[in-house]
């Protein structure tokens, strides 16, 4: 691990000032950041510890809930209000990592966790995300755990989060305090950036920007399902996962929000998929049409080709369960 200065933030407003600088990073749980620092994939010169700021609360706000940035994944999954009204989020969190990691990992940190592309981790191989312009060892390499949606010619790294997939289906907004002290909120599709030709820039966050919380609006549907398929039964990243938030009326799908993990370079959701489902009666043909839409622009490699039929089957199973 490279040397760094450690500062404990004691004031939320000041944290953004202390957090300025291209080589400065905030740390809360640290479960991913410290792992990357040990491997020298990341080498910040300064860490600002925000773990003791008063950002660890879940409060009712604007008809929904506001989750503080340092609420741990365990506390969030177990919160009675989340379990009752946003079960897809509890399920997604419980499907990720291990008990020890969930006790440490935070809401803001989960959103910012880096890809688990093995070439990103291996500093002996080229990686455009780690070292812009260096090339991509994943192209032509081992790609079982790579993305098929939102990829670019420079990067096919997968976004690994389960939590963010559920949040995307729940229309969550990320609250960000800027270096000037102002707070803005961003929908997930605004917050995350596609790799394009700058895969090292993953979000809209700039120097000093601090995630202070995530706002969940009132849930649009009471039928919520999260299903994750992985190579082993526990403690593994998704090959494909699907979060569905559905509202049924008179046997028809009155509203549908479906998001995907294991497929995209960011937590994935496609408005055309949601629109195709809305207003329709559930059927195998409808679910297949939704899958066709979802995968219409998928780019596969030899390693990721299996994800298309798998995503199709997972989507069908999730929608069958959510609309039954």
């Amino acid at each position: 691990m490279r040397e760094f200065d450690y500062v404990r933030a004691t004031d939320t407003a000041r944290a953004s000032v202390e957090g300025q600088g291209a080589e400065t990073r905030f740390i809360a749980g640290g479960t991913n950041l410290l792992d990357l620092m040990k491997l020298e994939v990341m080498a910040p010169s300064k860490l600002v510890d925000i773990s003791r700021l008063p950002l660890d609360r879940i409060e009712e706000a604007d008809g929904g809930l506001r989750i503080g940035a340092t609420v741990t994944n365990s506390d969030l999954a177990a919160d009675p209000r989340i379990r009752a009204s946003y079960p897809v989020l509890s399920r997604a969190l419980l499907a990720g990592a291990s008990g020890q990691l969930r006790n440490k990992a935070t809401t803001g940190g989960n959103l910012l966790q880096r890809t688990r592309c093995p070439y990103f981790y291996d500093t002996d191989t080229p990686c455009n995300k780690r070292s812009p312009g260096e090339g991509c060892a994943a192209m032509g390499g081992e790609t079982r755990n790579h993305a098929v949606l939102g990829t670019s010619e420079t990067c096919i790294a997968l976004h690994p989060s389960d939590m963010a997939v559920a949040m995307r289906a729940l229309d969550a907004k990320v609250e960000v305090q800027g270096a000037g002290g102002e707070t803005n909120s961003f929908a997930m599709e605004e917050f995350y950036l596609l790799p394009s030709d700058t895969p090292h820039i993953e979000t809209i966050l700039e120097s000093g920007d601090l995630i202070t919380g995530v706002h969940l609006p009132a849930p649009r549907g009471d039928r919520q399902v999260y299903r994750k398929v992985r190579d082993r039964a526990s403690y593994a990243f998704a090959l494909v996962s699907t979060a569905a938030v559905v509202k049924m009326e008179d046997g028809r799908i009155a509203d549908a929000a479906v998001a995907f993990g294991g497929l995209g370079t960011m937590p994935w959701r496609d408005p055309e998929v949601d629109a195709a489902l809305t207003g329709e009666a559930p059927s195998r043909a409808l679910f297949d049409k939704a899958a066709d839409l979802l995968l219409r622009e998928a780019e596969v490699t030899d390693g990721t080709a299996f994800k298309l039929p798998l995503a199709r089957r997972v989507l069908r199973a999730v929608l069958e369960e959510a609309t039954a």
């Binding site: 691990m1 040397e3 760094f4 200065d5 450690y6 404990r8 740390i27 640290g30 479960t31 410290l34 792992d35 040990k38 860490l47 510890d49 773990s51 365990s74 999954a77 177990a78 379990r83 009752a84 079960p87 509890s90 399920r91 419980l94 499907a95 990592a97 291990s98 008990g99 020890q100 990691l101 006790n103 440490k104 039964a233 526990s234 403690y235």
Partner: protein, 166 residues
């Protein structure tokens, strides 16, 4: 930098580099070598300790982040006599080489507390507790602790024998 740690109810004032992990502080600077370094990347669970009653991977945390926290290592689980879990591991033969055992014990201690607080798991049928410590619940909840000797039958029997009494 100066860091004050409270480990097993004893205070330690340490002068440490900012890079020192909680695990290295416990093992190399305080000298409590029960907590083990296995993978050093949060995958094996051998380093599991309790911080303010919650189980975490000590290898993936900085000592500096735990100034003032209450830390419990395997050495602090017993007070002269073995804890019920420790005794159960002996009775049920919950180990072979023993390297993962301190992490298994701390993790199981934290896990039993989580279940008593009604926390759900990935395999729970409902998100409304309470939950019983079935084989499936136990395997899921302990999936962050690996045993390379694969003594899981004994480990699971030991934890269940304590969990069922709790």
């Amino acid at each position: 930098m100066q860091i004050d740690l409270t480990i097993n109810q004893k205070s330690y004032s340490l002068e440490l580099d900012s890079r020192v992990t909680l695990l290295d502080a416990i093992r190399e600077h305080v000298g409590l070598t029960g907590s083990k370094k296995g993978c050093d990347h949060g995958q094996c669970g051998a380093c599991t300790v309790l911080v303010n009653g919650r189980r975490i991977n000590a290898c993936l945390s900085l000592a500096a982040m735990h100034d003032g926290d209450e830390i419990t290592t395997v050495e602090g689980l017993s007070d002269g006599e073995l804890s019920p879990l420790q005794a159960a591991f002996i009775k049920e033969d919950g180990f072979q080489c023993g390297y993962c055992t301190p992490g298994q014990l701390c993790s199981a201690t934290g896990m039993l507390q989580e279940i008593s607080e009604g926390w759900p798991s990935h395999v729970s049928d409902s998100l409304d507790g309470p939950y019983e410590l079935s084989e499936a619940e136990l395997s899921e909840r302990m999936s962050g602790n690996l045993c390379r000797c694969s003594c899981y039958p004994g480990i699971n029997a030991a934890i269940r024998s304590v969990g069922e009494k709790a």
